[in-house]
């Protein structure tokens, strides 16, 4: 990078060549582009390289200062032997330094977790607010709604859901043949979050919706808050009707919020319909699947203990009224028994 010096007149054209006349004085801020190797100075890799180069320069000067003293000592003290040892040591050092430089360059470029750092820059009250907002559908759909692009909340929600699923699977006595309980739970939750996000992002790309992948991940991640709540309640309290009510209300609210945000960012009736219909279907059906796949058979046990007339429970929707009645009866009987015994 050299700046043109002075105002030498190298006028070769009749109309005046356009390099030196305009550039005046030394210390100008003009960069001579001929000598630059990089084509852009601000891309990500180049910044990494510049950083690395600066660090290396520091290291090299520091080491040169350090080895100066050592080499000085050895040279004086050990004479000829010191020379050979010194050379060998220097060569070995150079090789090691070069290898380390290469490795650390590659590592800093690709395995740098600082890439993800901006997405984790949140405060606890922000996370809390976003959790609550994920259940509140927005009203304004004519104006693109703001979606926070952070990954901390969604990741914590996914892990919480893994923990809740584990609890549900364990208490339902689910037997996993090919695989482990933990692997299935993690696979299900992460697969849903990443897979459905990518799929909806792809659809949004097709339908010309203004949403980035990060925003989609964040939106769907916060939408899992409703799933966590519903599953947490219904894996412990086993009323079918309660589950359906919660599914519709809480699941519905969360879906409505996501759908409203997407609608506000899409134009046209058909794209809106496709995108939001798909998202709504996937979101609600996932909650349904999670409940019924790992459902605890406690109603069946209660029924067989209480009375012989009640048919055994089947895991289909048709028996819901029977089960709900039976469980309500059992609960009332137990409450009556407790009240009487007091």
């Amino acid at each position: 990078m050299s700046a043109s010096q002075g105002s030498t007149n190298t006028n070769t054209e009749p109309w005046g060549s356009f390099d030196d006349n305009i550039i005046q004085g030394s210390g100008s801020a003009v960069i001579d582009m001929e000598n630059m190797d990089d084509t852009s100075g601000s891309s990500f890799e180049d910044m990494g390289e510049i950083h690395q180069r600066m660090k290396e320069e520091e290291e090299v000067t520091a080491e040169a200062a350090a080895t100066e003293e050592d080499n000085g000592e050895y040279g004086e003290f050990l004479g000829m032997k010191g020379l050979k040892g010194q050379l060998g040591r220097q060569v070995a050092d150079e090789v090691w330094q070069a290898g380390k430089r290469q490795a650390s360059k590659a590592f800093n470029l690709y395995a740098n977790i600082d890439i993800l750092r901006p997405y984790f820059d949140v405060e606890p009250n922000q996370v809390r607010n976003r959790l609550v907002e994920s259940l509140i559908p927005v009203r304004m759909i004519n104006f693109p709604q703001k979606v926070a692009g952070e990954l901390y909340g969604p990741m914590m929600l996914v892990f919480t859901m893994v923990a809740i699923l584990l609890h549900g699977m364990k208490t339902s006595g689910t037997v996993i043949r090919e695989g482990t309980l933990m692997g299935t739970a993690i696979g299900t939750c992460f697969g849903y979050w990443l897979g459905v996000s990518s799929f909806i992002y792809f659809l949004a790309y097709l339908c010309n919706a203004q949403i980035t992948m990060l925003q989609m991940l964040s939106l769907l991640g916060y939408g899992l808050f409703s799933h966590c709540m519903v599953l947490f309640i219904t894996y412990n309290v086993h009323f079918h009707s309660l589950f359906y009510i919660l599914w519709l209300v809480i699941g519905g609210l969360s879906t409505l919020r996501m759908v409203a945000v997407l609608i506000s960012r899409t134009v046209g009736q058909t794209p809106r319909l496709i995108l939001c219909g798909t998202l709504a279907a996937l979101h609600m059906l996932f909650l349904l699947y999670l409940h019924f796949a790992y459902h605890k058979m406690v109603e069946g046990i209660l029924d067989t203990l209480e009375g012989p007339n009640i048919p055994p429970i089947q895991r289909v929707a048709r028996d819901v009224p029977v089960v709900a009645n039976a469980v309500v009866n059992a609960t009332i009987k137990s409450i009556a028994a407790v009240v009487q015994s007091q």
């Binding site: 050990l78 004479g79 977790i113 405060e123 606890p124 892990f159 923990a163 482990t180 933990m182």
Partner: protein
């Protein structure tokens, strides 16, 4: 010969006489040799390491603001605890029909991957602690849960009743909160003040999952 000009500074100056004592000093030329432990008997090495591990156990059980866990971290203690916990959660029946209890590999993977994820999370949130220090702290803080596992197994040697369940619940809850408290005493210091809750929650979840695995453990009939 100008290309060899750069080599001229490697040559010895003529002032130095090439005579005298050519006894090369044996022993520490570079300071690393002082700490070479290859020559000591194996018993010494093992005892020293065990003593370090034991000292860190004491620090976990009485979590004060000391930096012993952080300054010389080691991963022996976490490995020991992890293997003990995973073996005890096996229960002895190795058939795959009773799939209710976790496999050895499952527990191992949960503990190590969980620790790695919590460490990454705390680093991403701006923590000043290094990767292995954090792994060390999280691993050592599993000690109360391992103790709870031992207690639960002893309790389960008796009858499998609701009393035993309540006792186990209390023991596991106490030890899980102790673990969480101990690890946050070490980890939360390295975070900015208002983000402590963001770091504590994954730790809480991690120890909760391990505590739940311990609580729902039932021995084979």
């Amino acid at each position: 010969m100008s290309q060899f000009a750069g080599l001229s500074d490697i040559s010895i100056s003529e002032d130095i006489p090439v005579e005298g004592d050519i006894s090369v000093p044996v022993g520490s030329q570079n300071p690393d040799d002082d700490f070479s432990t290859l020559d000591e008997p194996v018993k010494d090495t093992i005892l020293r390491d065990l003593r370090a591990v034991g000292q860190k156990f004491v620090h976990v059980l009485y979590p004060k603001k000391s930096s012993a866990l952080l300054k010389d971290w080691d991963l022996w203690g976490p490995l020991l605890l992890c293997v003990t916990l995973a073996l005890m959660l096996q229960g002895g029946s190795a058939d795959s029909g009773e799939d209710g209890r976790p496999q050895f590999a499952e527990v191992f993977v949960i503990i190590w991957f969980g620790s790695v994820i919590i460490t990454l999370n705390s680093k991403l949130l701006g923590g000043t602690i290094s990767f292995f220090q954090s792994l060390c702290v999280l691993g050592y803080c599993i000690l109360p849960l391992t103790v709870a596992m031992i207690v639960c197994r002893i309790v389960l040697l008796g009858a499998l009743s609701s009393v035993s369940f309540v006792v186990r619940l209390i023991v596991v809850t106490a030890s899980f909160s102790w673990s969480t408290f101990a690890s946050t005493a070490f980890l939360a210091d390295s975070q900015p003040a208002n983000r402590k809750a963001l770091v504590v929650y994954p730790v809480f979840l991690f120890y909760f999952v391990i505590g739940w695995m311990i609580l729902t453990f039932s021995p084979s009939p």
